[in-house]
C-alpha cells in the first residue's frame, strides 16, 4: 500500500467547520468535537448550544477569569457571547429533542453503514457506563456529524457493517469525518467525499468495515 498522510485533528476539525453554514445552531459534543470551535469562521455568525443550558456559548475565558457557574457540557469553563441566553435542562433537551438544533458533532466508537451510532459504552463488563446527553443529541439534531479516527488503536475499522458496541441511536449519522476521509452515510451506504493525501479508495476500503464508494 502506498504511503499517505493522515489528516491531523486540526485538519479534521477545520473540514467540519467549513461544512457548517453561516447562521447554524450547533452543538459540539465533548471530547474531540470541542476542537471544531477553534476553526469556525469568525466572519459569520453561528450560535453554539451547550446542553447544560446555554445558547450563545463563547470560547474559554482567559486564565484566572473562569466562572465556575459558566461551563460547557464537558464541565470546562466557557464564556457567553452577546445575544446568549440561559435556560434549564428540560428546556434545553426539549430544544434538542424537538429538532431545533441544526448540526451536532459527536465523537464515536462505531458508525454503521445504516447510520447507527455507538458512542457511549464499550459494553465491557465492569466498565462504568455514562450516557449523558449523547442519545438526546443523536436523535434530536437535524444533522449528526461524527468526528473520529478511522480505525481503532488496534487497527480495527470503526466504520462497520453493523455496530458491535451498544447503540446510542439508530440511523442518525449523516456524515463521518475521520483522519483518513470524509464519508457520507446514505441509504446506499458509505460514500467517500474526500480522502487524505496519498490514500487510494482501495486503501480506504481496506480500513473500512463495510463497502465504501466514491461520492
Amino acid at each position: 500500500m502506498s504511503a499517505f498522510r493522515k489528516y491531523t485533528p486540526d485538519e479534521i476539525a477545520a473540514r467540519i467547520a467549513r461544512d457548517i453554514p453561516a447562521g447554524s445552531i450547533v452543538n459540539l459534543g465533548i471530547g474531540q468535537p470541542t476542537r471544531v470551535a477553534n476553526h469556525l469562521r469568525r466572519d459569520v455568525e453561528m450560535i453554539l448550544h451547550s446542553e447544560n443550558g446555554l445558547l450563545g456559548m463563547g470560547p474559554a475565558p482567559p486564565k484566572g477569569s473562569e466562572d465556575p457557574d459558566l461551563i460547557n457540557a464537558g464541565k470546562q469553563p466557557v464564556s457567553e457571547v452577546r445575544g446568549a441566553c440561559f435556560f434549564h435542562s428540560a428546556d434545553s433537551f426539549g430544544m434538542m429533542r424537538g429538532g431545533h438544533l441544526d448540526i451536532c458533532v459527536l465523537g464515536a466508537f462505531q458508525v454503521s453503514a445504516a447510520g447507527d451510532l455507538a458512542n457511549w459504552h464499550t459494553g465491557e463488563t465492569g466498565a462504568v457506563p455514562g450516557v449523558g446527553g449523547a442519545m438526546d443529541l443523536a436523535i434530536g439534531a437535524r444533522q449528526i456529524f461524527v468526528m473520529m479516527d478511522h480505525v481503532t488503536r488496534d487497527g480495527a475499522p470503526k466504520l462497520v457493517a453493523a455496530c458491535s458496541y451498544p447503540l446510542t441511536a439508530r440511523a442518525c449519522v449523516a456524515r463521518v469525518y475521520t483522519d483518513l476521509a470524509t464519508i457520507d452515510v446514505t441509504p446506499q451506504g458509505f460514500f467517500a467525499r474526500d480522502l487524505c493525501e496519498g490514500l487510494t479508495l482501495a486503501g480506504l476500503q481496506a480500513r473500512t468495515g463495510a463497502p465504501v464508494a466514491l461520492a
Binding site: 445552531i25 446568549a84 426539549g94 429533542r97 431545533h100 438544533l101
Partner: protein, 229 residues
C-alpha cells in the same frame, strides 16, 4: 434550518413589514395564534394575514376572537375552516358563534392546559403524553386511556403547526424574546411548536440588550420579527 444568515453572515431575523413576514403562509396552513383574550394577541400579524388572503386555515388559539378584529376578522372573511381552542365563547365572540351554529366552522375543543401541553410536546419532541385532565368526560371520548399514578389518564398527541403568530414586548435580531405580564401566556410554547414562528414586537433592541438570565423565548425558536410598536 432555524437560523438564517444574511448575505453578510449576520443572523438577522428582522423583516421590513408585517405583509412581507406573512406573505408565504399557504392555503390550508395550521396557524398557532398567541394571546389570551386580547392580551398578547398579534393583531398586526392577523390583519396582515387577512390582507394576504390565505384560506382554509386551521387556527389554534385559546379563544376564537371577539368583535370583528384579529381572529374574528379572519373568521368573518371565511378564511378559517377549523379552530382548535379551549374557550371559543367569550364576550363579543358573535362571529364565531354564528359560524358555529350555522355549521360553517369545525371546532376541536381542548382543555386549556392540554392545549398548552400538546404544543409544548410538539416543540420538545415528545410523541404523546398521558394527562389526567379530561378523563371520564366527553372531551376524552374515543381516546386511549390508562390508569397511572392511581388515576385514569388520557393519551394526548402533539399539535405541530406550519406557522405561529405571536406578539412579544422586546426582541433582538437573533430572535430572543421577552414578554409583558400576562400577555406572555401561550406565545412561548407556540414559538416552539411551529416550523415558522413570526413575531410582532413592540420594540427591537440591540443584540445583548436583553438580560441572558431573563430571555423567555430563545432565538432558536424564532424566524421572523417585525417591529410594530
Amino acid at each position: 434550518m432555524r437560523a438564517q444568515a444574511r448575505a453578510d453572515g449576520r443572523i438577522d431575523k428582522i423583516w421590513p413589514s408585517l405583509a412581507a413576514a406573512v406573505a408565504d403562509i399557504r392555503d390550508g396552513a395550521t396557524v398557532l395564534v398567541g394571546g389570551f383574550g386580547d392580551a398578547g394577541a398579534p393583531f398586526g400579524l392577523l390583519h396582515a394575514l387577512l390582507d394576504q388572503g390565505a384560506r382554509d386555515l386551521t387556527i389554534v388559539s385559546n379563544n376564537a376572537g371577539s368583535g370583528e378584529v384579529g381572529i374574528a376578522a379572519l373568521l368573518k372573511a371565511g378564511r378559517v375552516a377549523r379552530i382548535v381552542c379551549s374557550f371559543p365563547k367569550t364576550s363579543g365572540s358573535t362571529v364565531f358563534e354564528e359560524l358555529y351554529r350555522a355549521g360553517r366552522i369545525e371546532l376541536e375543543l381542548v382543555p386549556q392546559g392540554t392545549l398548552a401541553e400538546r404544543m409544548r410536546a410538539a416543540g420538545a419532541g415528545i410523541g404523546a403524553f398521558f394527562t389526567p385532565t379530561g378523563a371520564g368526560t366527553m372531551l376524552a371520548e374515543g381516546k386511549e386511556t390508562r390508569i397511572l399514578d392511581g388515576r385514569e389518564q388520557v393519551l394526548e398527541y402533539p399539535i405541530h403547526a406550519d406557522v405561529a403568530l405571536i406578539r412579544a414586548d422586546r426582541a433582538d435580531r437573533w430572535g430572543n424574546l421577552v414578554y409583558r405580564k400576562t400577555a406572555r401566556n401561550f406565545a412561548p410554547v407556540m414559538a416552539t411548536a411551529a416550523r415558522t414562528t413570526i413575531v410582532e414586537a413592540r420594540q427591537i433592541v440591540p443584540l445583548g440588550a436583553l438580560d441572558p438570565e431573563a430571555v423567555v423565548t430563545p432565538g432558536v425558536f424564532v424566524r421572523r420579527i417585525v417591529e410594530t410598536g
